[in-house]
C-alpha cells in the first residue's frame, strides 16, 4: 500500500476498498427497488418501466388488500410504539439523570441490555411471557406493540440521556435561580432544550418499529397482525410479484424519510457531531 510508505500520499487503496463496499451494499437494494417498477410479473427479468405494482388495477400495493393491511398494521404499530416509548423514555432518562443514590450504574446497565441482547432471544422470551405469564394479553397487536416498545425504549433513553448530559444541569439551576418552580424548569427550559433529541429518538423508534421482524413475527396473532416485514418474509418463497418489491420500496422510503427528518432536526439544533452519533445509532 502506497500510503504505508508515503504518509502524505492519497490513500488510493483505501478509497478503492471503500468504494467497492458502498457499491456492494447499495446495488442489491437498488436492484430490488428497480424491479418494483418492472412492467412484467418477473422479479429478475426487466420488461420495461411502469408504476403498475404501486397503483395498477390488480395485485398492486394500492389494490391488494393483504399488502394494504400489512402496510396499515405496520404504521399502526409504529405510531403506538413512538407514542408510548418516547414519553416513557424521556421520563426514564430524566429520572436516571437525577438519580444520585446507589444502584444508578446497575439501572444504566439494565437499560442498555436490550441493545445488546440478540433479538431472537428477546422474541422467544417475550413469546413465553405472553403465552404463560400474561395469557390475558395474548398474541396480537397489543403483544407486538409491547414487544417493540420494550426494545425501542432503550434507544430513546440512550439518545435523550446523551443530550441531557451535554446540556448539563446549569440551565435548570438558572431557571430555579430566576424563580421557576420545578414544573416550570421542566416545561420552560429542559423540554425545549431536549426537543431535538426527542424528535431524533421518535424517528429512531419509528424506523426500528417499521424494520422490526423477529419480535413482531413471534408476537403476531393471525393474518390481521401481519406487518410488511413479515409479509416480505413469508411470500418471498411463495409466488412473488414485483408488488413485494413495491411495498418494500414504500417501507424503505418511509424509514429513510423519517431518519432524514431526524438528522436534519437534530443537526439544526444540536450540532453536527451528535447528529452523526445518532445517525450511527440508527444504522
Amino acid at each position: 500500500m502506497s500510503w504505508l510508505r508515503n504518509p502524505w500520499g492519497k490513500p488510493r487503496g483505501l478509497l478503492v476498498v471503500t468504494a467497492l463496499y458502498i457499491l456492494w451494499s447499495i446495488v442489491p437494494v437498488a436492484i430490488a427497488i428497480l424491479f418494483a417498477f418492472n412492467d412484467g410479473r418477473s422479479r429478475t427479468t426487466w420488461q420495461g418501466f411502469s408504476f403498475r405494482w404501486f397503483t395498477g388495477s390488480s395485485g398492486s400495493v394500492v389494490h391488494d388488500p393483504a399488502l394494504q393491511g400489512a402496510l396499515k398494521h405496520t404504521l399502526l404499530l409504529a405510531v403506538i410504539c413512538v407514542g408510548v416509548a418516547v414519553p416513557l423514555g424521556v421520563a426514564l432518562a430524566l429520572g436516571l439523570q437525577r438519580w444520585r443514590g446507589r444502584g444508578g450504574g446497575t439501572i444504566n446497565t439494565v437499560m442498555l441490555l436490550p441493545l445488546v441482547t440478540p433479538e431472537i432471544v428477546m422474541g422467544v422470551a417475550l413469546l413465553l411471557l405472553f403465552l404463560r405469564v400474561f395469557p390475558g394479553i395474548g398474541l396480537g397487536t397489543e403483544a407486538q406493540a409491547i414487544g417493540q416498545i420494550t426494545f425501542t425504549l432503550s434507544y430513546v433513553v440512550v439518545i435523550v440521556r446523551g443530550r441531557l448530559v451535554s446540556i448539563g444541569r446549569e440551565y435548570e439551576e438558572a431557571a430555579a435561580d430566576l424563580g421557576a418552580p420545578p414544573h416550570d424548569q421542566l416545561m420552560r427550559v429542559v423540554l425545549p432544550l431536549l426537543a431535538p433529541a426527542i424528535v431524533a429518538s421518535a424517528a429512531v423508534a419509528f424506523a426500528l418499529s417499521i424494520d422490526d421482524f423477529v419480535v413482531t413475527q413471534y408476537l403476531s396473532g393471525d393474518a390481521s397482525t401481519t406487518t410488511v416485514s413479515m409479509l416480505l418474509y413469508s411470500s418471498a418463497r411463495g409466488a412473488p410479484t414485483p408488488a413485494l418489491n413495491a411495498i418494500a420500496t414504500v417501507a424503505l422510503l418511509i424509514t429513510l424519510a423519517t431518519l432524514a427528518l431526524a438528522f436534519v432536526v437534530y443537526r439544526r439544533f444540536a450540532g453536527g457531531r451528535e447528529a452523526t452519533a445518532v445517525a450511527a445509532l440508527e444504522v
Partner: protein, 379 residues
C-alpha cells in the same frame, strides 16, 4: 438596609470530602464581597449554598435575619450570574431577561418596561431579538447580569463571571461591574481565583483555602497585612522565610539561620517557629558592603527587565532565594543589576511581617498545643 448575609458554621460534605468546613462569614449589606481562593478551596460550593443549589450538610445561611439554608433556590431572593452565563439558548435576549419576571407577578406591559430599562443599564439596547449564540462573550455576560438584576435581588451572586473573557474585556467589565454595584447598591458576592480582580473590585475579601476562611478583611488589609503564609503567598509574590521568633509585643526578634532580624509587622508577640514574609517591592538593594541592621549579603542570580521595574532574584548568605522588585524610576540604581553582582539586601523592619500558621481543622487541635504560634492573638 437589605442584603446582609451571615454564614454560621456552614459545612458541606460530598461523601467523604469536606468541601466547606464550618465557615463563619459576615457579608454586610450593599458591599462588594469577594470569595477568593485557588480551585477546590470551597468558594464556589459556598456560593452555590447561598444560591440554594447545594444543601448545606450543617450550618446556617442567615439572609436579613432569616435562616434560608433549607429554602429551595426558586424561593430565595438572591440571583446568580453563572460562570458560563447559562443563557437559555432557545430564547432571545428579551425573553431571557424577562424569564424570572413572570414569577414576580408583573403584567406584560410592566415586564416589557423593566426589560427595556435593564437592557439600557447594561448597554444592550437593540439586542432584544438576538439569540444568545449571536452575541459576543462580553454581551452574553451582560445579558446574564441583566437577567439577574431585573429581579432586584437582595443579593447578587457572581461565579467567576469574567473567567471566560479575554484580558482586555475583563478589565473593562471589572470597572463596569463595580460601577453597577455602586449605583444600584445591592450586595454582590463575587467568586474568583484571580487575586488582582479581587483586590481591584471588592470592599471586602475572604481568602479561602481547603474549605476554610484564612482571612476576611479589606483588600488593602489582606494584601498589606496577611495573617497567614497562605494569604501572603496567594496574594501576589511574597518572600517567605522560616524563622524562630522571640516576640515582645512591639517588635519581634527573628532568627533566620544564624542571622537576626527585627520585624515590626504582624504577629509580633509570637514565640517559636514561624514564617516571616516580605513583599518584593519592600526589599531594598544597597551597594555591596553597606552596613546596618536587617541587612545581609547576597548575589544576584537573575535580573529581568519588565519595563516599569526590574525583577531581581538574589541568593543570600544562608542559601535562601529572595525576589525583589526594583522600580525603574530613572535614577541610576545603587547596584549593577546583573547576574553575579554582589549586593547587600536590606529587609526593612517595617516591611518584615511575622505570620500565623493557617487555621487548622478541628480534628488536629490536639497537636496544636506544641505549636506556640497557633495560640497567638489575632491582629
Amino acid at each position: 438596609m437589605e442584603g446582609e448575609i451571615q454564614l454560621e458554621g456552614l459545612t458541606k460534605r460530598f461523601d467523604d470530602v469536606v468541601a466547606v468546613d464550618a465557615i463563619d462569614l459576615h457579608m454586610p449589606s450593599a458591599e462588594f464581597f469577594t470569595l477568593l481562593g485557588p480551585s477546590g478551596c470551597g468558594k464556589t460550593t459556598t456560593l452555590r449554598m447561598i444560591a440554594g443549589f447545594e444543601q448545606p450538610t450543617s450550618g446556617r445561611i442567615v439572609l436579613d435575619g432569616t435562616d434560608v439554608a433549607q429554602v429551595p433556590p426558586h424561593k430565595r431572593n438572591v440571583n446568580t450570574v453563572f460562570q458560563s452565563y447559562a443563557l437559555f439558548p432557545h430564547l432571545d435576549v428579551a425573553a431571557n431577561v424577562a424569564f424570572g419576571l413572570k414569577y414576580q407577578g408583573f403584567n406584560k406591559e410592566e415586564r416589557q418596561r423593566k426589560v427595556r430599562g435593564i437592557l439600557e443599564l447594561v448597554r444592550l439596547k437593540g439586542f432584544e431579538n438576538r439569540k444568545p449564540s449571536q452575541l459576543s462573550g462580553g454581551q452574553q455576560q451582560r445579558v446574564a447580569l441583566a437577567r439577574a438584576l431585573v429581579l432586584t435581588p437582595r443579593v447578587l451572586l457572581l461565579d467567576e463571571p469574567l473567567g471566560a473573557l479575554d484580558a482586555r474585556l475583563r478589565k473593562e467589565l471589572q470597572v463596569e461591574l463595580k460601577a453597577i454595584q455602586h449605583d444600584i447598591g445591592i450586595t454582590f458576592v463575587f467568586v474568583t481565583h484571580d487575586q488582582e480582580e479581587a483586590l481591584t473590585m471588592s470592599d471586602r475579601v475572604a481568602v479561602m483555602n481547603d474549605g476554610r476562611v484564612e482571612q476576611a478583611a479589606s483588600p488593602r488589609e489582606v494584601y498589606e497585612e496577611p495573617r497567614t503564609s497562605f494569604v501572603a503567598d496567594f496574594l501576589g509574590v511574597s518572600n517567605l522565610l522560616d524563622a524562630t521568633a522571640q516576640g515582645d509585643g512591639a517588635a519581634c526578634s527573628l532568627s533566620v539561620g544564624d542571622r537576626a532580624f527585627r520585624a515590626e509587622q504582624g504577629a509580633t508577640r509570637v514565640r517559636g517557629d514561624v514564617k516571616a514574609m516580605i513583599r518584593p517591592e519592600r526589599i531594598e538593594l544597597e551597594a555591596h558592603g553597606a552596613g546596618g541592621d536587617n541587612r545581609l549579603p547576597g548575589m544576584i542570580e537573575r535580573a529581568v527587565f519588565l519595563g516599569g521595574s526590574h525583577e531581581v532574584h538574589i541568593r543570600v548568605l544562608g542559601g535562601e532565594l529572595l525576589k525583589a522588585t526594583v522600580p525603574n524610576d530613572g535614577r541610576p540604581p545603587a547596584v549593577v543589576l546583573e547576574e553575579g553582582s554582589p549586593v547587600t539586601v536590606h529587609l526593612p523592619a517595617d516591611g518584615l511581617r511575622v505570620l500565623e500558621p493557617s487555621p487548622q481543622p478541628p480534628e488536629s487541635t490536639a497537636d496544636a498545643a506544641d505549636r506556640p504560634v497557633s495560640t497567638a492573638p489575632s491582629m
